[in-house]
């Protein structure tokens, strides 16, 4: 008995809990920590846009058309005299809300479908996964364009399109985890104890597949930002006069020789969250899957 108590105290000292372990492993990855810092910075300036932005996003000033970066306009102005810095800040607000909304929708639908497909197997699995294959056989941008053509461009329309276009990715990740998990004895023991299927899926399987899914969420957020910006660039995304990073890039491309700031700053603004999400995603993947070789 006394030996048992001894080992338990040892355990408490050596293993301060799974979260601490995770934190240790993640914080070892310098690039991922940098990405997390960058993301935190971007989120803060987005939330505080009302206080930080010197001008309104749509205020036009014909006395200051196409001015280069200056103290008054840190990122210059566009052809309507709008402050690009302010437009970038408010543009973040729109692009983040669209991307996060879309990815969360895909995460919810995809995870549910994938878990059910992997758990039930059989014809349901075949049916859902062949559907996923069909969706995945279209490049996601083409799929998004087609869907937008059908439902018309709007902010929440784009979010919905992202949600549909990314559902298959989450469904696949969730299904592969679900298949291996369904064979574990603890899932079978839950069935034997009469735990209902929805409860098994949501209360037991979901928390156990969350790790790999969070990695996918982070990486898909990066893709989502790019896709949203691309749709805007092509003119089917956020409609003017709402500030949209992609559209600003498109407006600037024709006069890049005269007003480089009109393209550069929105371009960098798109790049930063993509870098942040990608580095965080890579870091999380390394942390959740320590079997992968770390270079």
């Amino acid at each position: 008995m006394s030996t048992e108590t001894d080992t338990q105290t040892d355990i408490e000292i050596d293993e301060p809990g799974p979260f601490h372990e995770f934190y240790e492993a993640f914080s070892e990855n310098r690039i991922a920590v940098f990405g997390l810092g960058l993301l935190a910075f971007l989120i803060i300036i987005t939330l505080l846009a009302d206080f930080i932005a010197p001008y309104s996003a749509t205020a036009q000033n014909y006395d200051a058309v196409l001015e280069g970066p200056s103290m008054d306009h840190p990122m210059g102005t566009d052809e309507l005299g709008r402050d690009i810095f302010s437009r970038v800040l408010f543009g973040y607000r729109i692009i983040f809300s669209i991307t996060v909304g879309g990815v969360m929708m895909a995460f919810t639908m995809g995870t549910l479908l994938g878990l059910a497909a992997g758990y039930y197997g059989g014809w349901l699995d075949e049916f859902l996964m062949r559907g996923v294959d069909v969706l995945m056989s279209f490049p996601s941008l083409i799929l998004a364009l087609a869907l937008i053509a059908a439902i018309g461009p709007s902010r929440w329309g784009i979010a919905l399109v992202l949600g549909i276009a990314y559902t298959p990715i989450f469904a696949r990740v969730a299904r592969s985890e679900s298949v291996s998990l369904s064979n574990e004895a603890f899932i079978r023991s839950l069935e034997v104890r009469g735990v209902s299927t929805p409860r098994i899926l949501i209360a037991h399987m979901f928390p156990n597949v969350l790790g790999p899914l969070i990695v996918t969420v982070t990486l898909q957020l990066a893709f989502g930002i790019l896709t949203t910006a691309t749709l805007s660039f092509l003119g089917v995304g956020v409609q003017p006069p709402s500030p949209s990073l992609g559209l600003m890039l498109a407006d600037g491309k024709d006069i890049i020789g005269r007003a480089w700031w009109m393209s550069l700053f929105p371009g960098v603004a798109i790049m930063l969250p993509v870098i942040a999400f990608n580095t965080i995603g890579d870091g999380l993947r390394d942390t959740f899957d320590p079997k992968q070789v770390r270079n």
């Binding site: 355990i11 293993e15 799974p18 075949e126 574990e184 004895a185 603890f186 079978r188 023991s189 839950l190 069935e191 034997v192 104890r193 009469g194 735990v195 209902s196 409860r199 037991h204 928390p207 156990n208």
Partner: protein
Amino acid sequence: MALLEVDGLSKHFVVNGGVVPRLLGTRKELQAIRNVSFEIEAGQTLGLVGESGAGKSTVGNVITRIYEPTNGTVRYNGANVHELSGSDLQAYRQSVQMVFQDPYTSLDPRYKIGRTIAEPLKIHTDLSKAERKERVSELLETVNLEPEHRDRYPHELSGGQLQRVSIATALALDPEFIILDEPVSALDVSVQARILNLLMELQEEYELSYLFISHNLGVIKHLCDHVAVMYLGEIVEQAPTGELFENPHHPYTEGLLNSVPQPQPGGSKSTDGLTGEIPSALNPPAGCSFHPRCSYATDQCSVDAPPLETLDSERKVACHHWDAVVADQADERSELTHSSVQNDGTK
């Protein structure tokens, strides 16, 4: 009426399923269990023994409705288990529990021990949160763990402790019948004995019936009232434990018993243990499925499958030549006594 009656149970799995193999006709059936029948009386323990791949675990999984049977019935208190629904099914879920082989994977890794044990209580009873907590402490005590283990995660406990937790979870709803699927095979030998003793104590205290699935004859001998020996999905011999161990009637049982290492100093090392491998259940041999490995086999064995014959009320055997097996053992025994007498004489 017996508590559990398994009658003519078969379970076939389709290997290589799916649309394409179906069209090509390359689908195969794996006969995991074939025409298995046995009964378990209240308060008794039936041991199910056999090599890996004999279908032992499948029997357990069909009884607990993880699998639907291809043929045959499982009756519990007279009711067909696979036709239960609604509140009858919930009642069945409460009174029949299962403990799995690998304690490391049979608990949800993200649930604290207390939450795992309390879950069946939450589903099947209307105990309040405080009452559940109290019951969990009680159960932990029953399986000789501390109430403090409630707040630990499975990865913080040892294999033996985890198996105790599994047993506590199984006991949570006052079951009548527990299927023990190799409950100690993954544990250290010293821990095995303690878990087995715990199981025997619990059986006495709560009047439990067990179906004890194992490949370990020593463990079976220790715990079971009756033993059924399985080979390639079929029961080949069934008898009260003592009789089976003293006087096996089936050549396979004999082989299994001879394969057990005898730790007696100077004990004769048996040479007639089992040879060869268990054949694939995808392609079982014709006739008696044991005949390719059997030293008693004759031409008849490769053609006719022997039925499970009832010799007396408690003993069943499926072999054309069981009398030869019995006679052979009688010879061996007399030889043994003879040689030991001689040994005594020379000393």
